[in-house]
C-alpha cells in the first residue's frame, strides 16, 4: 500500500518532458492573444452550434442519437472517419516529428494508416450487418449478453478515457499557445462545447462537426503543402536538398533514425497501431451511421484515401517547416538559439508548433489564424466523437442491455446517455486540469494498445470463430485489457519518464505492450473457449451459423432508421 501511494505521488510530481512520439501536443509559453485566430474560431463555433440546433430538432429516437438515424452516406462517413482520425496530435505531432527527425515521421504515418485496409477487409461490413449502435452489439450477438456487454463497456470506457485525457491536455496546451488563453479556460471551453454538441445534437451533430472540420483541415493542409512545393518549383528533390542543407542532422533526416531502436519494440508498436485502429470504439460506432454494408465498405475506402493523402501532406509540411521555419529568426526563441545554434531546437513553442509557424510563413497572419482555428476545431470534433462513444457504452451497453435487460424505454436510454455525456465532460475537464503538467504522450499509445488487445481480439473472434464461447471471450478480453495496462505502466515511457525511475530500470523493454498483450488475449480466448464445457458454451456455438449468415448477407440487419 505504501509503495502504491509512493508511485501515485511521484506520478503527480514528475516533471513534464517532451513527447517522444506523435501522441499528444506539448506546449510552451503562453502567446499573445491572436485575434484573427479567435475570430475564425468563433465563426466555426457559431456554424457548428447552428448545426447542433438543426440536428437537435431532428434527434428524437435512440437511432437518431446513437447513429444519426443511419442517414449518413458512404462519402460523408468516409470524411467523418478521416476526421476522427486526423486529430490535432496527428496533424501537429507528425509534422513536428518530421521537423525534428525527418524520415521517422513517415514511419508513424504509415503505421497509423495500415489498419484501415484490415478494417475494410474483415470488419466493416460484418459490423454493419450485425450491430445497431455499439460494437458490443456485435460481440454479444450470440454470447452471454450481460458478461460480454460489461467486458466491451470496460474496453470502450478505458480506451475512451485515456484518449480523452490525452486530447484534453493537448487541447489546453495548444489553445494556450494559439490563442493566448489560460490553460484552464481552454480546457473548460473544449469540455463545455463538447457537452453541448453531444447532448443536444447526438451523432448527427457530432458527425457534421467532424465532416466540416475534416474538409477545412484537408483544404488548409493542401494549401500549405502546395505553397511549400510551389516555392521549390514542385520538385521534392529540391525541397529535400535544401532541408538536408539547413538541418543539423544533415543527410540523416532522409533515413530512419533513432526513433525506433529496438526491433521488437518496432513490431509491437506496429501491431498496436494496425489493430488498435480496428478496436477504437468511436471509430467502430461510425459504421452504424450508414444505410447498409455497402455504404460501410465504401466509407472506409474514402477514409483510407483521405487519411493517406493527409499523411503525405504532413510529411511535406514537416520538410517545408525545416526549410522555412527553422531558418527564420521570427519563429525562433533567441535564448535557446544562442545556446544550441540550432533552428530546429529553438522553435518557439516546441516542435509541435512547426505546422502552425509554417502557416504563418507561407500564408501570413490570416492563414495562421485559419490553421489555428482548424487545429482547435479538430480537437473539439475528436473529443465529441470520443464522448459519444463513451456515453453509448454506459447508456446502451450498461444501462439498457445489462441493467434493464434490453427492455429499456427509449426516452430513458437517451436521457441516461445525455447524463453520461455530461458526467464524462465534467470528468474530462477535471482530469484535463489535474494532468496539466504531466507527460501524457503515452496515453494515446495505451488507448491503441487496449483497443488492439481487448476490443479487437474479441470482436474478430466473435465474427469469425465458431468455437468462441462467453467464458473464452471474458478470459481473453480481460487478460488483454489488464496486460496492456500493466505493460504500459512497466514500459520505459511511463516507468522511467513519467514515474521518474532511473534509466534502464523499466521491467518491460517494449514501449508498447501490444506484442504480448495481443498474443495473450488470443491465447486466452482460444484456451478459455476450447476448455469450456458449460451449457452456455453450447448455446454460444450453436448461435454461430445464424450470426454468420447475417454477417455475410445482412438478412435481418437493423436498418438503423427510425420509423
Amino acid at each position: 500500500m505504501r509503495k502504491l501511494s509512493c508511485v501515485l505521488v511521484s506520478a503527480f510530481l514528475a516533471t513534464p518532458t517532451l513527447a517522444l512520439a506523435a501522441g499528444t501536443v506539448d506546449g510552451g509559453a503562453k502567446q499573445a492573444v491572436n485575434w484573427n485566430a479567435i475570430g475564425m474560431f468563433i465563426a466555426f463555433v457559431a456554424l457548428t452550434l447552428g448545426i447542433t440546433y438543426w440536428a437537435a430538432k431532428r434527434t428524437a429516437s435512440a437511432a437518431d442519437f446513437y447513429s444519426a438515424g443511419g442517414g449518413i452516406t458512404g462519402f460523408q462517413n468516409g470524411l467523418a472517419i478521416a476526421g476522427d482520425y486526423m486529430s490535432a496530435a496527428s496533424f501537429l505531432g507528425i509534422s513536428g516529428l518530421v521537423y525534428t527527425s525527418g524520415y521517422d515521421g513517415l514511419i508513424y504515418s504509415v503505421g497509423w494508416l495500415v489498419g484501415w485496409p484490415i478494417v475494410t477487409f474483415l470488419i466493416a461490413e460484418q459490423l454493419r450487418n450485425l450491430g445497431k449502435f455499439t460494437f458490443a452489439d456485435v460481440t454479444s450477438f450470440r454470447l452471454g449478453q450481460t458478461e460480454i456487454r460489461i467486458l466491451a463497456a470496460c474496453g470502450s470506457l478505458v480506451t475512451v478515457a485515456f484518449y480523452l485525457i490525452a486530447q484534453m491536455v493537448g487541447a489546453g496546451k495548444l489553445i494556450q499557445l494559439l490563442f493566448g488563453l489560460d490553460y484552464w479556460i481552454a480546457v473548460i471551453l473544449v469540455g463545455g462545447l463538447m457537452m453541448i454538441y453531444v447532448t443536444f445534437g447526438g451523432m448527427k451533430a457530432t458527425t457534421w462537426v467532424q465532416i466540416i472540420k475534416a474538409v477545412l483541415l484537408l483544404l488548409g493542409a493542401t494549401f500549405m503543402a502546395g505553397a511549400v512545393l510551389y516555392s521549390f518549383g514542385f520538385s521534392p528533390e529540391a525541397l529535400f536538398a535544401k532541408a538536408v542543407e539547413v538541418h543539423p542532422k544533415k543527410i540523416a533526416i532522409m533515413e530512419p533514425g533513432s526513433l525506433i531502436s529496438n526491433p521488437l519494440s518496432a513490431i509491437s508498436l506496429g501491431l498496436a497501431l494496425m489493430f488498435g485502429t480496428a478496436g477504437l470504439p468511436h471509430i467502430l460506432m461510425r459504421f452504424f451511421t450508414v444505410k447498409d454494408a455497402k455504404a460501410a465498405r465504401k466509407s472506409v475506402f474514402y477514409a483510407t484515401g483521405f487519411i493517406g493523402y493527409f499523411y503525405i501532406l504532413t510529411f511535406i509540411i514537416g520538410f517545408g517547416a525545416i526549410v522555412l521555419v527553422s531558418t527564420d529568426m521570427a519563429f525562433l526563441d533567441l535564448s535557446i538559439f544562442e545556446k544550441t545554434k540550432s533552428g530546429i531546437a529553438a522553435i518557439k513553442g516546441g516542435s509541435n508548433m512547426a505546422a502552425i509557424h509554417l502557416a504563418d510563413a507561407v500564408g501570413g497572419n490570416m492563414f495562421l489564424g485559419f490553421i489555428s482555428a482548424v487545429a482547435f476545431a479538430t480537437i473539439l470534433a475528436v473529443v465529441s466523437g470520443l464522448a459519444l462513444a463513451g456515453a453509448s457504452a454506459i447508456s446502451h451497453d450498461i444501462y439498457a442491455m445489462v441493467i434493464k435487460g434490453g427492455k429499456a424505454n427509449e426516452h430513458d436510454e437517451i436521457r441516461v446517455s445525455k447524463t453520461a455525456t455530461l458526467f464524462l465532460g465534467v470528468l474530462a475537464i477535471i482530469l484535463g486540469i489535474i494532468f496539466e503538467n504531466q507527460n501524457v504522450a503515452f496515453m494515446v499509445g495505451l488507448a491503441f494498445a487496449i483497443a488492439a488487445s481487448c476490443n479487437f481480439p474479441v470482436l474478430v473472434m466473435s465474427i469469425f470463430w465458431r468455437g468462441l464461447t462467453t467464458r473464452g471471450a471474458l478470459i481473453g478480453g480481460f487478460l488483454g485489457l489488464i496486460t496492456a495496462i500493466v505493460g504500459v505502466i512497466l514500459s520505459p515511457a511511463v516507468w522511467e519518464v513519467t514515474l521518474g525511475n532511473p534509466k534502464g530500470s523499466a521491467p518491460v523493454a517494449l514501449d508498447n505492450p501490444a506484442l504480448f498483450s495481443m498474443a495473450l488475449a488470443f491465447v486466452g480466448i482460444w484456451l478459455g473457449s476450447i476448455l469450456d464445457r458449460s451449457m452456455r458454451a453450447k448455446v454460444d456455438r450453436s448461435g454461430f451459423d445464424a450470426q454468420y449468415v447475417r454477417s455475410q448477407t445482412g438478412i435481418g440487419a437493423a436498418s438503423a432508421t427510425a420509423h
Binding site: 524520415y103 495500415v114 484490415i118 477487409f121 543527410i251 451459423d545
Partner: protein, 102 residues
C-alpha cells in the same frame, strides 16, 4: 432470424459462392497488407541504412518511395476489395435475399 432462414441460406449456392469469394479475397488482401507493412517495419528495424540509400545523385533516398508505396498500397488494396465487392458481392446478396421473397 428464425431457424429456417439461415438453414436454407446455408444451402443456397449463391450464399456459398459469396462466402467463398469474400473470405478468400478478404484474408488474402489482409495477408498482403500485413506482409507489406511488417516488411517495411522490419526494414526500418534491421536495415535502416538500406532505406537511406540515395536514389541517383540527389539527396532523395530509396526510403521515400518505399514509404509512399506502403501508403498508396493501403489505399489501392482497399480499392481492389471495394470494387470487387461492389461488382460481385452485392449482386449475390441481392439474389440470396430475393430467394425469400414470393
Amino acid at each position: 432470424m428464425d431457424e429456417n432462414v439461415h438453414e436454407r441460406t446455408k444451402q443456397d449456392p449463391n450464399y456459398q459462392e459469396l462466402v467463398r469469394r469474400r473470405s478468400s479475397l478478404g484474408w488474402t488482401l489482409s495477408l498482403i497488407m500485413l506482409v507489406i507493412y511488417f516488411g517495411f517495419i522490419l526494414m526500418v528495424a534491421y536495415a535502416p541504412k538500406f532505406l537511406g540509400t540515395p536514389l541517383g545523385t540527389g539527396v532523395t533516398t530509396i526510403g521515400i518511395p518505399i514509404g509512399l508505396f506502403v501508403i498508396v498500397s493501403a489505399f489501392a488494396l482497399t480499392g481492389i476489395y471495394v470494387s470487387k465487392a461492389n461488382a460481385q458481392y452485392d449482386r449475390l446478396i441481392r439474389r440470396i435475399v430475393e430467394g425469400y421473397r414470393p
